[in-house]
């Protein structure tokens, strides 16, 4: 029963990891950039939701519905930040040496962290959402309601992204740029704008997930790095360019981490995660679902 409980806990948190990683994978596939500032979009989304709720209620507390109403704001704000980040900064290094792109996005990550510390201090914060009964018991498995809401929210955001990419004109443009940027220009796609939209959409999804994280965990200015690292692991694990791979990779990572923390110690989670990644890369170098940037 304990193992089942750990797996359920892992899946609930893993959906959040997956949602963040899907955006990371999208930027990697379309813009050909490993965005080391992606975790900061999670952090900024959390703070946006926190401050919107604080402005409305005065103390970052509210009902589940009131909290959910802050998420579109976080998504919109982070779309704008992501779009601007690509257009102003990242676009200048696309196509250059990979180390330069890593350096630029790492620099952006540090700058955003420092600005956040100046703006909000390094103290952890969280959003308090009031449930009459905060958890429920399903056949002996305890499921915190807010984690269930966050799980559903992360899956909905990921599904919306998938539908957006498959069914909308902009989504098709994003897929076209990921597969062949020069050919995309040939058919009339504004490649630079599309790359910026990709950055915006990926940041928006990360921001929405950040809002959920602000409820079920804590937010603080330096939280971004761990989400960038987890995203990297998930994307490599699931296969670069595969959104289903990122989703399954996220759920697996969450489950493995909870099992390791439950049966061993939380200190072992990163060690086990990265060992599993190395083993996978040796056995299956393209990841579980890697086929290039087919999405």
């Amino acid at each position: 029963m304990a193992a089942t409980q750990f797996v359920v806990n892992g899946l609930l948190v893993g959906a959040l990891f997956a949602g963040v990683a899907v955006g990371f994978a999208l930027i990697w596939g379309v813009v050909d950039i490993i965005n080391l500032a992606h975790g900061e979009m999670v952090m900024l989304g959390g703070y946006t939701s926190y401050w919107v709720l604080t402005l409305v209620t005065g103390n970052a507390e509210g009902s589940p519905l009131l909290f959910l109403a802050t998420i579109p704001v976080a998504i919109a704000v982070l779309f704008g930040i992501g779009y601007a980040l690509q257009r102003i900064l990242v676009s200048r290094v696309i196509g250059t040496d990979i180390f330069l792109t890593l350096l630029v996005t790492f620099g952006a990550s540090i700058a955003i962290q420092q600005l956040a510390i100046q703006a909000w201090s390094a103290n952890p914060r969280s959003i308090q959402v009031s449930f009459a009964d905060p958890s429920m018991n399903l056949a002996g498995i305890v499921v915190p309601k807010m984690k269930l809401v966050a799980f559903a929210g992360a899956l909905v955001l990921t599904a919306l992204l998938y539908v957006f990419l498959q069914k909308t004109r902009t989504g098709r443009a994003i897929r076209a740029v990921s597969q062949n940027p020069e050919a995309a220009a040939l058919v009339g796609i504004d490649v630079e704008h599309t790359r910026a939209v990709t950055f915006g959409v990926s940041s928006a999804i990360a921001g929405g997930i950040g809002a959920f994280i602000a409820v079920i965990l804590n937010i603080q200015p330096q939280m971004g790095l761990i989400y960038t690292l987890k995203s990297f692991v998930i994307v490599v694990f699931g296969g670069v360019g595969s959104i289903p791979g990122a989703l399954i990779g996220g759920l697996l990572l969450g489950s493995v981490e909870e099992l390791v923390a439950g049966f061993m110690s939380s200190q072992w989670t990163l060690a086990v995660t990265f060992t599993a990644l190395i083993v996978l890369l040796v056995v299956k170098p393209n990841g579980l679902f890697g086929q290039g940037a087919e999405q």
Partner: protein, 249 residues
Amino acid sequence: MASTPDATNEPTGDPVLRMENVTAGYGNTTVLHDVSIAVEDEQVACLIGPNGSGKSTLMKSIYGFADVQTGTVSFRGDDITGRSPQQNLANGMSYVLQDASVFPGMSVHENMLMGGYVFNDDDRAAARADELYEEFPVLADLRSQSAGTLSGGQRRLLELARALMVEPDVMMLDEPSIGLEPRFIDDVFERIEQLNDLGTTILLVEQNAEKGLSIADRGFVLASGEIKFTGTGTELLNDEEVGRLYLGG
């Protein structure tokens, strides 16, 4: 035969596409030097020359993929120097690259629809694709197949058909026969002639110089980034020096 363009080799009609004294390249690298060409409406113009002579760069400098450092490119009398590919497509020019330019993760039909991306109207794009399937029945049979699994000849046909989605006035084709089996080469050239018969102006870069010049109203020989010879396709085919230097005897 003139070794550089002069009045006797200028087209007699109104050129639809013209490069005047264009020097172009990529960043600080210059590939083309003071190049002038003119392509008349509804004609086939063929550009030949050895590898590395700048043929693809010439096409790219017209379409906005390379940097025009000096000189002008004009389309129907309008200066289009430095315009983006999107603007050139909107003006009625389409371009088929030498390199593979399909979207390999999309089906043949999705690739066709992407050719009509500028319509901003899926129904219109689908209707135009259906028209083209009648002209390219092999693509109709493959419409659900992933473009990444097509053979070289099928891929070339898809690229041609996709470029026709916008019903261009001018088509620029970079090495349409490269890497194809002989039966596909004949098919591709037949298509090019059909398109021209329907009124589409063609600017063609072709490594298979005899084949290219045989269908060309006007030909240009490019070497070391400079136009060395111009004339009608027949004149260039029959010219001893062009034959010795560029046609293998």
